[in-house]
Symmetry: C2
Subunit: 217 residues, 2 copies
């Protein structure tokens, strides 16, 4: 039986829809009263785990789930040993550098040496500033990164932006984009190579469905 790891949060609804399109129903996770973290598809041909987005690659890397859906941002931050299969083209957002609207800096290259940047995405932020050869101090935070510049603890933030509403509400403006992110289909490499439980057929269906459900440009 195939197990899939689904991410709590913003990507959950669309992730469940994609599996519904190929005949696997995990919509019980969307019931407001649901407390289960593990459910079977009603046909009992597949199982799903409901986990934090950051934990999806962990369950897939260890083979506890053969398939998973997770944002590219998480894959960049964690660099797990998983097979990257398909861009599912939903959950569009971007990893951006933002500064207070009142900041004198309009480009990262203008940041002062040893300037401070707060982020939940420590690795992404560090790699970015290293590539620019800027000696920036990254301050790791777990939430509400926008408080970094508001309190004066940091000059800027690196964070995931989708509508831009949080930035706007906090008087921050984007000055650069590290990368764009969308939901990705990932697999346990060995299960994929061995085609365990007919995994490859399911993946082809999901990829095919992904092409069909794309908005016309």
């Amino acid at each position: 039986m195939i197990t899939v790891a689904l991410p709590k949060g913003a990507l959950l609804k669309d992730s469940i829809r994609r599996f519904q399109n190929v005949g696997l129903d995990f919509s019980a996770f969307l019931d407001s009263g649901n407390r289960q973290l593990q459910i079977d598809d009603p046909t009992h041909t597949a199982k799903a785990l409901l986990v934090r987005a950051q934990d999806v690659p962990v369950y897939v890397e260890y083979g506890q789930a053969q398939l998973g859906i997770v944002g590219y941002d998480v894959l960049r931050e964690k660099s797990s040993q998983v097979a990257h299969l398909a861009d599912l083209k939903f959950g569009n957002c971007r990893m951006s550098v933002a500064v207070p609207a009142t900041s004198p800096y309009r480009r990262p290259l203008e940041f002062p040496p040893h300037g401070r940047v707060a982020s939940k995405f420590v690795r992404c932020a560090r790699d970015y500033f290293r590539a620019l050869d800027l000696p920036i101090e990254i301050i790791p935070l777990y939430g509400s990164v926008e408080l970094g510049p508001i309190t004066g603890m940091s000059d800027a933030i690196v964070d995931l932006v989708s509508t831009g509403r949080t930035l706007k509400e906090n008087g921050l403006i984007e000055i650069d984009v590290l990368f764009h992110s969308t939901a990705r289909l990932i697999a346990h490499p060995l299960s994929y190579r061995l085609n365990a439980g007919g995994l490859q057929g399911l993946i082809e269906q999901l990829e095919q469905d992904s092409k069909l459900t794309q908005p016309v440009a």
Copy 2:
């Protein structure tokens, strides 16, 4: 003006009560409609930041808050450069090792070499097994650690336990306690030494209040 960092979650209500007891009212954070992360006390003598528990020591270490309240578990996990001032004696919980009730292991020393332990508290778990001289692999997770043993990904978990309800619901039993945890008062070391904004007087009041509000043994 003194700024205090308060932790979102389980410790918030009692933290706000302690500051109320010494004349500082940050209860606006408890309003269900509140979206603010930064408020002034009505007397405008102090300010409070509402942040994730793990971020409290960060704001205090960088001096953006001169005082903070946070669980000892977070201080153990992060080892920040902050002054540990007082045990506030609320928010009692313990960092425990738990295994499935069906597990053959009843003591950590029985764990197989290279056994796997899932935890959100990677450093605490690693230090504990290192002190026991056990070559255990720690699997870092962000949430729902109990899924580790349920899915078979790990032999055990290291997690914070308060009532034990989550463990029970997931068929897990505690087999050892790493340490007990309570809410702690922490301060920015330099602000504390310099008595910035009359910090030491406020701390004495909080410590005094903490002794008064303790349950009689």
